[in-house]
């Protein structure tokens, strides 16, 4: 048995002329909690749907639990819990109807787990899904996804639209559920706090291209911030590989860099700065800088704020 829960090779998907996922290679270790990061429209949902065999890739292939995604049998699907984006559920169903309906399909249905997740979200079993708040609905969906005790749990932006309290509840439920079994969880989000709290591995999608796949610590250590202090105005920057952001304020030049090599350090030192300080950076800042920078000419124009902050690059 492979020690990877998900493997994807050269997954590519176009919608019309729009390239949504491009040449994506991914491997998710069994038992990991895998955060799938990216901005809105970066291709997270499309990737997950291709991995689950719910969408055909333009080309490329993937394996889930060692089986080809294109033809997952019902038995394999029983081992995969999937919480789709937007918490879909039949609105007319009461909680107990949803439980009765869903439990029919899964031989390993854990009713105790279902009830405990519902209790965590304080969901009344007699409420109809359409009358629930977003948090309650998310709780119901999560309960329905967790109760079959899947080996692989795929959660597509599970915290979308939730207030901080509900989001915290959702994440705690996930932790509660995962730590009880050797279960792989892959969940997508664009909220760093969620990822930081939950994930041990991350993958970062940037406009259809996978840019990073590593542990959280590695990501944090690879993105570094330097402040260069000059005697006067900072000079014009030479091309630097790995530079994702530069902000010039007075005599200071703040540089955000990825994979800082000795060459880059030499280049920095060659700028004639009086001082070069490495400044600690939060994961959120690292992530925003990582995805906010624009380096390729064919990439869509970033938002005005990011354009301003990345002005030093051009």
């Amino acid at each position: 048995m492979s020690d990877l829960a998900i493997q994807a090779r050269r997954l590519t998907r176009y919608f019309g002329a729009k390239r949504v996922v491009y040449d994506l290679n991914l491997s998710v270790p069994r038992g990991s909690i895998f955060g799938f990061l990216g901005r809105n429209g970066s291709g997270k949902t499309t990737t997950l749907r291709m991995i689950l065999g719910l969408l055909s890739p333009s080309w490329g292939e993937s394996l889930v639990l060692g089986h080809d995604s294109r033809c997952l049998s019902p038995a394999i699907r029983a081992r995969i819990g999937y919480l789709a984006e937007g918490h879909p559920v039949h609105g007319w169903m009461r909680v107990k109807d949803a439980q009765a309906y869903q439990s029919r399909f899964y031989p390993r249905w854990n009713d105790e787990l279902f009830q405990s997740v519902l209790a965590f979200f304080r969901v009344d079993p007699n409420t109809r899904a359409r009358n629930m708040s977003r948090g309650e609905r998310a709780g119901l969906c999560l309960a329905m996804t967790l109760a079959p005790e899947p080996d692989l749990l795929i959660l597509d932006d599970p915290a979308i639209g939730l207030d901080p309290v509900a989001r915290r509840s959702l994440l705690e439920s996930m932790v509660y559920a995962t730590r009880k079994a050797d279960r792989t969880i892959i969940f997508s989000s664009h909220l760093l706090a969620d990822i930081e709290r939950m994930a041990d591995h991350i993958a970062v999608l940037d406009y259809s291209i996978l840019r990073a796949q590593c542990s959280l610590e590695t990501f944090r250590s690879c993105v570094q911030q330097f402040v260069l202090t000059f005697d006067g105005s900072p000079p014009r920057l030479p091309p630097m590989r790995g530079l994702i952001q530069s902000i010039s304020r007075g005599s200071q030049l703040r540089l955000m860099l990825v994979n800082v090599s000795q060459d880059i350090r030499t280049t920095m030192q060659g700028l004639g700065a009086m001082r070069i300080d490495e400044v600690p950076i939060s994961l959120e800042d690292a992530f925003v800088s990582y995805l906010g920078g624009t380096l390729e000419s064919d990439r869509p124009t970033p938002s005005p704020e990011l354009a301003l902050s990345a002005g030093g690059l051009s």
């Binding site: 492979s2 176009y14 689950l52 080809d68 995969i80």
Partner: protein, 675 residues
């Protein structure tokens, strides 16, 4: 599967109840003041259109949740195959649909079967038209599913999948006389619809890879595209405000008159000539809309026709026989007494019972029955029954004549009896009979295959003449001339017999043929019919032209394709060639490959512009981008560039990549094993 089935039932029950309640209210409202043939009318008035609406409604509401990809994922990502999910959905949907439509019809059927309710004998076949409509609702149900989930634009081809169901409705209501054949057509259409619906459901509306579901999708789109073309053509005719037409009338002396009718700016005018084209001054300025001029021309109110000689599908229009009509089950006898004598009962010819049955119109209870030997009050039945099936009653509903192949009776229903007036010889059976003229001049005309027999109303033979035209290839209008009471017979060649011609024969009181005239075929005036026929050629498929005779199209669409054969054929083939050329160009643009392009080109040469719509409907329009290697355009959905053969370039690296070796993709072998 049971879970999905019950959920679907629960989820869509409200829509089924809505359909049930609406249909029940309409039916019960009509049952309060019933006509004798109400069960046929209920089909015509309600189920014919309610069933399609209900089918589309159920199909749409059942899949509207799945139109969002996330919801669809929620529905299909479970340990059940998509096929079983779809089957459970359809089983629940069809059960609800058929129950909602059948139960109100059953209420009507049970009501009608109770004595004293209907006013005519209840026959099980009276339920068949409603049953056929209800069954056909399933065709619309699958069409509704496809048009809900298939990815298409509303102003493009989204609604076209309803085309096959629509074609099925037309077939079973207008062109098919047998119920079993209608059921067969409906089942075939539903099978195709179900395959197409499965294709779009399994792929969440995308073009499915399976050729059979794509073929089914094409098959349900094609009639829709063709119908849109014909509809647009008809719509364009609505803007033509004027025109000129010619037709024949016969004056009181039996002379043919060519009437040219003109409509210009809403004003109607007529001019009159003889068949040679010489103006007839006596009719100059005559207004044919004026009731005072009604008697200027002979009215042919008797028809002699052998329906078996009329080819399908026009035989149904001539005879009004089939499972959607009372005939061949029951036929009302409206002309069973002398003019001015009012019958105090309703007379019905009961075809299975071979009897005329009389019903009280108030109590709707049977009074008795009339057989060849006379009347028997209910509940007794006459000892002797009529022999065989009555001939073309529906063509002459007010005739006092009841004809069978071996014998013809004159009806005297006010006296509660029938009188035999003609007995056919064994080798020359009757095919039609009718009464013409009024009062003392009234005659009974009996048409056998060899001769036309003219009788007085009491059955005395006046004369008998051989046919001047073969009755197996002609149908006849008959009239009595007001001026001299001569018999005028106008013979038309049956549809499909070339060349079409019209002849008139005038017989004197002693049976002498006093005049025989050929009426030359009148050509179309102006260019509108020619343009119409040519425009029809532009949208009509070559394949259909090969199997469908021009006279059917002329009759169905009021065209002149036989007259403008060359123009029609020219436009037809130019259009087909353009379609094939466009297909080749589209095939190259879409990178179809040689055989696929060739196949579609031949198909669209045969299927015409509607085939082109189908091709665009079942194939994705591929986008292109610049190849990173040769910088020429390549298809985005393909791995290799068709120009340079280079594989898709790997994702570009910009120095930001963070990949840990431990997580790097390393199981190529496993993937290759699967691939």
């Amino acid at each position: 599967m049971i879970g999905i089935f019950t959920r679907e039932l629960r989820e869509n029950l409200k829509w089924a109840l809505l359909v049930f309640a609406a249909l029940l209210v309409m039916i019960v409202r009509d049952l309060r003041e019933p006509e004798p043939m109400i069960l046929f009318q209920l089909a015509q008035h309600y189920t014919l259109w309610m069933a399609p609406i209900a089918g589309i409604l159920l199909g749409v509401v059942q899949l509207v949740f799945e139109t969002r990809p996330d919801n669809w994922s929620f529905v299909v990502h479970r340990p059940v195959s998509r096929g079983r999910i779809f089957a459970a959905k359809c089983a629940a949907g069809l059960l609800l649909l058929y129950a909602a439509l059948t139960l109100p019809c059953l209420v009507a059927g049970i009501w009608a079967s109770r004595p004293g309710n209907l006013g005519v004998p209840y026959q099980g076949r009276m339920m068949l038209p409603m049953l056929a409509d209800v069954l056909n609702a399933g065709s619309y149900y699958f069409a509704g599913m496809v048009l809900t989930l298939r990815r298409a634009r509303w102003f493009g081809t989204r609604l076209l999948p309803a085309g096959l169901a629509l074609a099925s409705s037309f077939l079973i209501t207008m062109f098919i006389a047998q119920f079993w054949l209608s059921v067969l057509v409906i089942l075939c259409v539903q099978l195709i619809g179900a395959l197409a619906a499965w294709g779009v459901f399994a792929s969440n509306g995308a073009s499915d890879d399976s050729w059979i579901t794509r073929l089914a999708l094409g098959a349900i789109i094609y009639p829709g595209a063709l119908a849109v073309g014909i509809g647009l053509l008809g719509f364009s005719q609505a803007f033509i405000s004027g025109g000129r037409w010619q037709y024949y009338q016969v004056d009181r002396h039996g002379d043919a008159v060519v009437v040219t009718q003109t409509i210009e700016h809403g004003e109607r005018g007529w001019s009159f000539t003889d068949p040679a084209g010489n103006p007839l001054r006596q009719y100059e300025g005559m207004d044919l809309d004026d009731p005072a001029n009604r008697d200027q021309f002979v009215s042919f109110n008797g028809h002699l026709v052998d329906p078996r000689s009329i080819p399908w599908p026009l035989d149904l229009m001539y005879t009004n026989a089939g499972y959607r009509f009372p005939n061949p089950g029951l036929e009302a006898l409206r002309g069973g007494a002398l003019p001015g004598v009012r019958l105090r009962f309703l007379a019905i010819y009961d075809i299975p019972q071979h009897l005329i049955e009389l019903f009280d119109p108030v109590s709707r209870v049977q009074i008795g029955a009339i057989g060849p030997d006379g009347f028997s009050p209910a509940p007794t039945l006459p000892d002797r029954r009529f022999d065989g099936i009555p001939l073309n009653l529906s063509v002459q509903p007010r005739s006092r004549v009841l004809a069978f192949e071996s014998i013809v009776y004159r009806l005297e229903l006010d006296q509660r009896r029938v009188l035999p007036v003609f007995v056919a010889v064994a080798d020359d059976p009757v095919f039609s009979a009718v009464e013409v003229g009024q009062g003392t001049n009234a005659k009974i005309l009996v048409a056998t295959h060899a001769r036309l027999h003219v009788l007085s109303v009491d059955g005395q033979s006046s004369y008998s003449v051989p046919w001047e035209q073969d009755p197996n290839s002609c149908n006849f209008d008959v009239a009595q001339l007001p001026s001299n009471h001569h018999l005028l017979v106008r013979a038309f060649t049956n549809p499909g017999i070339a060349p079409p011609r019209t002849r008139m024969f005038e017989y004197s009181a002693d049976g002498a043929l006093v005049r025989r005239s050929d009426l030359p075929r009148l050509g179309s005036l102006g260019s509108s019919k020619k343009v119409e026929s040519m425009a029809f050629g532009a949208i009509f498929p070559v394949a259909a032209r090969m199997i469908c005779p021009a006279w059917i199209l002329d009759d169905l669409f009021d065209l002149r394709m036989e007259e403008f054969q060359m123009s029609f054929a020219l436009v037809l083939w130019i259009s087909a060639a353009l379609c094939a050329t466009a297909t080749v160009l589209i095939g190259i643009r879409c990178g179809f490959g040689l055989w696929k392009t060739l196949g579609w080109s031949v198909l669209n040469l045969l299927l015409g512009p509607a085939g082109l719509v189908v091709m665009l409907g079942v194939n994705d329009w591929p986008s292109r981008e610049k190849c990173a290697h040769c910088h020429r355009m390549r298809f985005v959905g393909r791995r290799d560039c068709p120009r340079c053969g280079a594989a898709l370039a790997p994702a570009p690296r910009d120095g930001r990549e963070i990949f840990e070796p431990a997580d790097a993709f390393s199981s190529d072998e496993a993937l290759q094993a699967v691939g």
